[in-house]
C-alpha cells in the first residue's frame, strides 16, 4: 500500500487530500500540519472577525486519513524515505507532498518585533490582533495590496482608526495602475482611513511599557497606533526543501515541473511554496489547480499545470476592483468619473482592435462584459465601449451561445431582431427557435430585446395587457374564480399556452380547489393536466414526494416494486427523490394507486410549485450537525407542499455551516447555527447560478416559518410569470424585500400569513383526488375511442439493464 505523506495542512493540502479521497486513492494518507487546527478557509479569514467561528471556516477532515496537528516537519531523509518532526517523530513515505505554503514577509525595520506587531495569516494571528485591539484606538497596516486592504478592513471593523502605509506609489500596485490607485485611494479615504503611499517605514516606536505606540515615516511624520499589522507580501516556505537538497529558485520557491514534481521524483510540491515556470502563485485558484494536478499524477494520470490566469475581481472595503489580461499594451483608453469614483482602463493592440487587458476601480462591469474579449477583436472602439457602455449586447461575443438547446448564438438573435424588426420574445422564438426548448434563456432574450432598443411590453400575451403581478391583484381583489370571467372582463380572445397556465397558477395559489376541477382543467399544461412530467416520446414520469429525502426501507421497496411491475426507468433526482420514467397516460392512475396505498402522495414535480426541501442528515447522526435539519426539512416540505407559484420552488436545510444540503443554491435555504437558523433567499442553480442572500439570522423555528410564509406569498403575489426568486429578488432589491417582510413596511404581512395558513389548511393530495373521482379518471386514456389500447408509437429498448425510449425517426419538417 502506498504511503503518502503530506507536509502542511492548509487549503491547498486540503484540496489535494479531498481530490485523492474523492477519486478513490487506495494508499494510506498521513498529513503533518504545523498549526494547532485542521485546514481552514484562509480566503475567508477576515470573516473570523465578523462573526464566523474557527469551526465555520474549518474544512472537514476526510475519513480514513491520519492527521497530526502541531507537527512541524524539520527534516527529510530522502534516501531512507522518512520525514522527521520537531518532536522527534519519524514518518516513512513512498510519496511525499510538500504543501508548506508561505509566510508573511516582514520588512527589516527597527521595532518590527515589538509587542503589538502582528502578521495577518492564521486564526491565531487574528485572535492576537483582536486581543490587542481591545485597549487600542488606532492601528496601522503596512502594505497596501490586496491582503493589506483586507487587514485594514478588519482593523476598521474592530473599531480602530486605521492607516494604510504602502511603500509603492499607489494602492494595490499589482492589480491597478497609478490612475486606478488614485481613485481607489479616494474611496478608501472617504471611509475615514488614512492612506500613506510612497511611504517607507523608518521605525516602529514603543511607548513607556515597551508596547507599540506608533510608526515614524522617513520624512519624520509619526502616526500614533497601538497595533501594527505587516501585510507586505508573502515568501514561499521553502526552507525544508532547501535543507533537503531539493532545487529551489534564486528568489525562493520550490522548483516543480508541469506535473508538480520537484527535483526528487518521489516528492511533489504544491501551493504557495512552489516556483513553477518562474512564477510563485498567491491566489487560491491556481493553488487548487496545482493540488488537482498533483493528485492526478499520484493516481497515475497525466495532468499538467499551465501558467494560470491571474485575473482578479474583488470587493474590498465596499469598492469593486478588478484586473484582467495584460496590464500594459501598445495603446490604452481610460474612462474616469471622479464624481462616482469610477476608473476603467482598457489596453489594446496598436490598431486598437484587439483587447489585451483592463483595470477597473469602483465599477467592475467591464470585467464581466469585456473579459471574454481578451485576445479577440473588440465589438466597437475601446472608447465607445467604456464611455457609452458599449454597443447593444456587448456583454457577450456574437458567437456566444444563448440558447444551448437549439444552438442559437447571440449574433443570430440580434440580427434577427434588427433585420426582421422583432418586437417580442414570441417572435424571437418563432424566428430563431431560441428559447423554445427548455426556456431557460428567455430572460436573456428579453434582455437582448431591451438592449436592442425594443420596448418590451409588460403584457403577458396578446390576450392580457397586464403583467402577471397585475393579474394576480385583479384576481385577488375582485375575487375572480374562473378564467372565463377574467378574460371576458379583463382580456381578449380565448387565451393561449402563456396566459392559461399563468391564470391557472394564480387561481391555485389563491386556493380554488383541485387544479383539474371544472374549467380549470382546460387551463393546465400537459404536466399539470396529467399530474406527471411529459418526456420526449410522449410518456410521463412520476415523482412521489419524499419529504426531506427521508424514506423508510419499506417505502423504498414499494417504489422498486412499482417501477419493476410497470417497467419504468428509475433514476435518483438531484432533489433527493426518485423519478420513474416511461409511464403511458393510462398507466398513471394504476401507478399512483400503488404508491398512494403505500402512503405516498404527489411530489408536484410537474407543477410550478414547491418541489423538494433537501436536507443533510443533521445533528441526529452527524458529528458536526448543530440542529435537526431533516426534521425541519420534513416540516417545511409538508407545510408548503402543493403551493403553486410563478415558477418552481426549491429549498434545502443544512444542519451546520458545512452546508452539505447546498441550501444557498435554493429559492429559500436554511442553514443551522448554534442559536437557531439562518435563512437565505434567492439562490438558484440551473442556467444562471446565484448564491442565496442572507435574509435573517439566528431565528427560532417559529420565526423562521413566519418569515418564509411571508416571503413566499409576497413572491407569489408580485413575481412575473416563470420568474424564479433569484431574478425577482434582484429586480425588487434585497433591502426592499427585507423591509416588506421583516419590518412590514407595506402593512401586508398579516394578510400574507393568513393566505399561507389558508393554503396549508386547504392542502389535499392531487393524485388521491383523481383516484377518488371516476370523472377525472376517465381522462387518463391514450385513445378516447379505445380506452384499453396503448399508444402504438411508444416503444422501448434496453440500455444498462433498464429501458429507454425508441425514438421515432424525425424527417426534416421544414421546406
Amino acid at each position: 500500500m502506498t504511503r503518502l505523506v503530506v507536509v502542511g495542512h492548509g487549503p491547498t493540502a486540503y484540496r489535494l487530500i479531498e481530490t485523492l479521497v474523492d477519486r478513490g486513492f487506495d494508499g494510506r494518507i498521513t498529513v503533518l500540519g504545523e498549526e494547532p487546527r485542521p485546514a481552514y478557509d484562509r480566503v475567508a479569514l477576515t470573516s473570523y472577525l465578523t462573526g464566523k467561528t474557527a469551526e465555520d471556516l474549518t474544512y472537514p477532515v476526510p475519513d480514513g486519513i491520519t492527521l497530526s496537528l502541531n507537527a512541524r516537519v524539520t527534516g527529510i531523509d530522502r534516501e531512507a524515505g522518512v520525514v522527521t518532526t520537531a518532536d522527534g517523530h519519524a514518518e516513512p513515505y513512498d510519496v511525499l507532498v510538500l504543501a508548506t505554503g508561505s509566510s508573511p514577509f516582514v520588512p527589516p525595520v527597527p521595532g518590527k518585533d515589538l509587542d503589538g506587531c502582528f502578521v495577518y495569516r492564521t486564526i491565531d494571528d487574528l485572535d492576537a490582533i483582536r486581543e490587542a485591539s481591545r485597549g487600542a484606538t488606532a492601528g496601522i497596516v503596512i502594505g497596501g495590496g490586496l491582503l493589506g486592504l483586507e487587514a485594514a478592513d478588519a482593523l476598521r471593523g474592530l473599531g480602530l482608526e486605521t492607516h494604510v502605509v504602502e511603500m509603492g506609489g499607489w494602492l494595490m500596485p499589482r492589480q491597478v495602475d497609478e490612475g486606478g490607485g488614485a481613485v481607489l485611494r479616494g474611496h478608501i479615504e472617504a471611509l475615514g482611513l488614512g492612506v500613506h503611499t510612497g511611504a517607507g517605514v523608518k521605525e516602529i516606536v514603543a511607548g513607556p511599557e515597551g508596547r507599540v505606540s506608533g510608526l515614524v515615516k522617513p520624512d519624520g511624520e509619526t502616526i500614533e497606533a497601538q497595533v501594527v499589522v505587516f501585510s507586505a507580501g508573502v515568501r514561499p516556505r521553502d526552507e525544508l526543501a532547501r535543507s533537503s537538497g531539493l532545487a529551489v529558485g534564486e528568489r525562493g520557491g520550490i522548483v516543480v515541473d508541469d506535473g508538480m514534481r520537484t527535483s526528487d521524483p518521489a516528492i511533489y510540491a504544491i501551493g504557495e511554496c512552489v516556483l513553477h515556470d518562474g512564477m510563485v502563485y498567491g491566489l487560491v485558484g491556481p493553488c487548487f489547480t496545482m493540488a488537482e494536478v498533483a493528485a492526478d499524477r499520484i493516481l497515475g494520470g497525466e495532468g499538467a499545470f499551465a501558467r494560470a490566469d491571474m485575473s482578479t475581481k474583488l470587493k474590498l472595503l465596499g469598492v469593486e476592483v478588478a484586473q484582467f489580461g495584460a496590464m500594459d499594451g501598445a495603446l490604452d483608453v481610460t474612462f474616469m468619473d471622479p464624481v462616482t469614483g469610477v476608473y476603467q482602463k482598457l489596453f489594446v493592440s496598436d490598431d486598437a482592435r484587439t483587447l489585451l487587458g483592463g483595470i477597473c476601480v469602483g465599477d467592475a462591469t467591464p470585467y464581466n462584459s469585456l473579459k471574454p474579449f481578451v485576445g479577440r477583436e473588440l465589438p466597437g472602439s475601446p472608447s465607445e465601449l467604456l464611455f457609452t457602455g458599449g454597443p447593444a449586447n456587448m456583454d457577450l461575443p456574437d458567437d456566444a451561445q444563448v440558447c444551448s438547446c437549439n444552438n442559437v448564438t447571440k449574433g443570430q438573435i440580434c440580427s434577427a431582431i434588427a433585420d426582421k424588426g422583432l418586437t417580442d420574445v414570441a417572435e424571437i422564438k418563432s424566428c430563431t427557435r431560441a428559447g423554445t426548448a427548455c426556456g431557460s434563456c428567455v430572460p436573456m432574450l428579453k434582455q437582448l430585446l431591451i438592449k436592442s432598443g425594443v420596448e418590451v411590453s409588460k403584457a403577458l400575451c396578446e390576450h392580457f395587457a397586464y403583467s402577471r403581478a397585475e393579474l394576480f391583484d385583479i384576481v385577488r381583489v375582485r375575487g375572480i374564480t374562473t378564467f372565463s370571467q377574467l378574460i371576458s372582463e379583463h382580456g381578449a380572445g380565448r387565451g393561449c399556452d402563456v396566459c392559461k397556465p399563468t391564470v391557472a397558477s394564480i387561481l391555485a395559489s389563491l386556493g380554488n380547489g383541485h387544479i383539474l376541477d371544472g374549467e380549470q382543467a382546460a387551463l393546465q399544461d400537459t404536466n399539470d393536466h396529467f399530474l406527471a412530467n411529459i418526456q420526449r416520446n410522449g410518456t410521463y414520469s412520476v415523482v412521489p414526494r419524499i419529504p426531506g429525502g427521508e424514506i423508510t426501507p419499506d417505502k423504498l421497496i414499494v417504489i422498486g416494486e412499482v417501477a419493476r411491475d410497470f417497467g419504468l426507468y428509475t433514476k435518483i433526482t438531484g432533489g433527493q427523490r426518485i423519478d420513474l420514467f416511461g409511464a403511458r397516460v393510462e398507466q398513471l392512475p394504476l401507478i399512483w394507486k400503488r404508491l398512494v396505498d403505500a402512503g405516498f402522495e404527489s411530489g408536484h414535480a410537474y407543477g410550478k410549485a414547491l418541489r423538494t426541501v433537501k436536507s443533510c442528515v443533521g445533528s441526529t447522526w452527524c458529528r458536526y450537525g448543530v440542529q435537526d435539519s431533516v426534521g425541519l426539512a420534513v416540516a417545511l416540505e409538508l407545510r408548503y407542499r402543493g403551493l403553486r407559484s410563478p415558477h418552481k420552488l426549491k429549498s434545502a436545510v443544512s444542519g451546520c455551516a458545512r452546508e452539505c444540503a447546498e441550501a444557498r443554491g435554493k429559492d429559500f435555504g436554511i442553514i443551522a447555527t448554534e442559536q437557531g437558523w439562518n435563512l437565505y433567499v434567492g439562490g438558484n442553480g440551473g442556467f444562471t447560478p446565484r448564491h442565496a442572500d442572507l435574509f435573517a439570522s439566528d431565528l427560532s423555528t417559529d420565526e423562521l416559518i413566519r418569515i418564509i410564509d411571508r416571503f413566499l406569498m409576497f413572491y407569489i403575489r408580485t413575481a412575473d410569470r416563470l420568474q424564479r426568486t433569484s431574478v425577482w429578488l434582484e429586480n425588487q432589491g434585497l433591502d426592499y424585500v427585507k423591509e416588506v417582510i421583516l419590518e412590514d413596511s407595506l402593512g401586508i404581512c398579516a394578510e400574507l400569513e393568513a393566505q399561507m395558513e389558508r393554503h396549508v389548511a386547504g392542502y389535499a393530495d392531487e393524485w388521491r383526488a383523481v383516484l377518488d373521482d371516476p370523472d377525472r379518471l376517465r381522462r387518463f386514456v391514450s385513445f378516447v375511442n379505445a380506452p384499453g389500447t396503448p399508444d402504438p408509437s411508444i416503444a422501448f429498448e434496453p440500455e444498462r439493464e433498464q429501458v429507454k425510449p425508441v425514438l421515432i425517426p424525425l424527417e426534416p419538417v421544414r421546406a
Binding site: 390576450h463 393561449c496 404536466n527 420526449r536 391514450s782 385513445f783 378516447v784 425517426p809 424525425l810
Partner: protein, 121 residues
Amino acid sequence: MTVLSENLSAGLEETGWTRVCAYADLMPERGACALVDGHQVALFRTFDGGLYAIGNRDPFSGAYVLSRGIVGTRGNEPTVASPMHKEVFSLVTGVCLDDPAVSVPTYRIRVAAGTVEVSLA
C-alpha cells in the same frame, strides 16, 4: 375543419365516417386523441362548441402529443400549442403559425346524434 351538423339526416348514406366518442366526452378547450384506422387523430372542442380534428403527431418532436396541448386563439384563429416545445398550430388549417413551412394534416369531423365522427377521406 368544422361541420356542426346535429341535423344530419340519419338515413343519408355516407362512407368514411368513423364514430369516435360522445360529444359530451370532449371537454371544452381540451383535446382528446382517437385511433382511426391506425391513424392518431387529435380532436378538439373549442369554447364556442366548434370541433376540429388534426394529426396527433407533433412534427417538431415526432411524438404523438398534440391532443394534449393547450387550446387557445391567436387573433381569431383557434389554436393548439404543442405540449413539447410550444409551437402553435392552427386548428383550422393545421399550419404551424410559428413556422408556416410546417403543418399537420387536418381531418373532417362532425357530430351526428350526439356522437362525434371523424373522416380520414
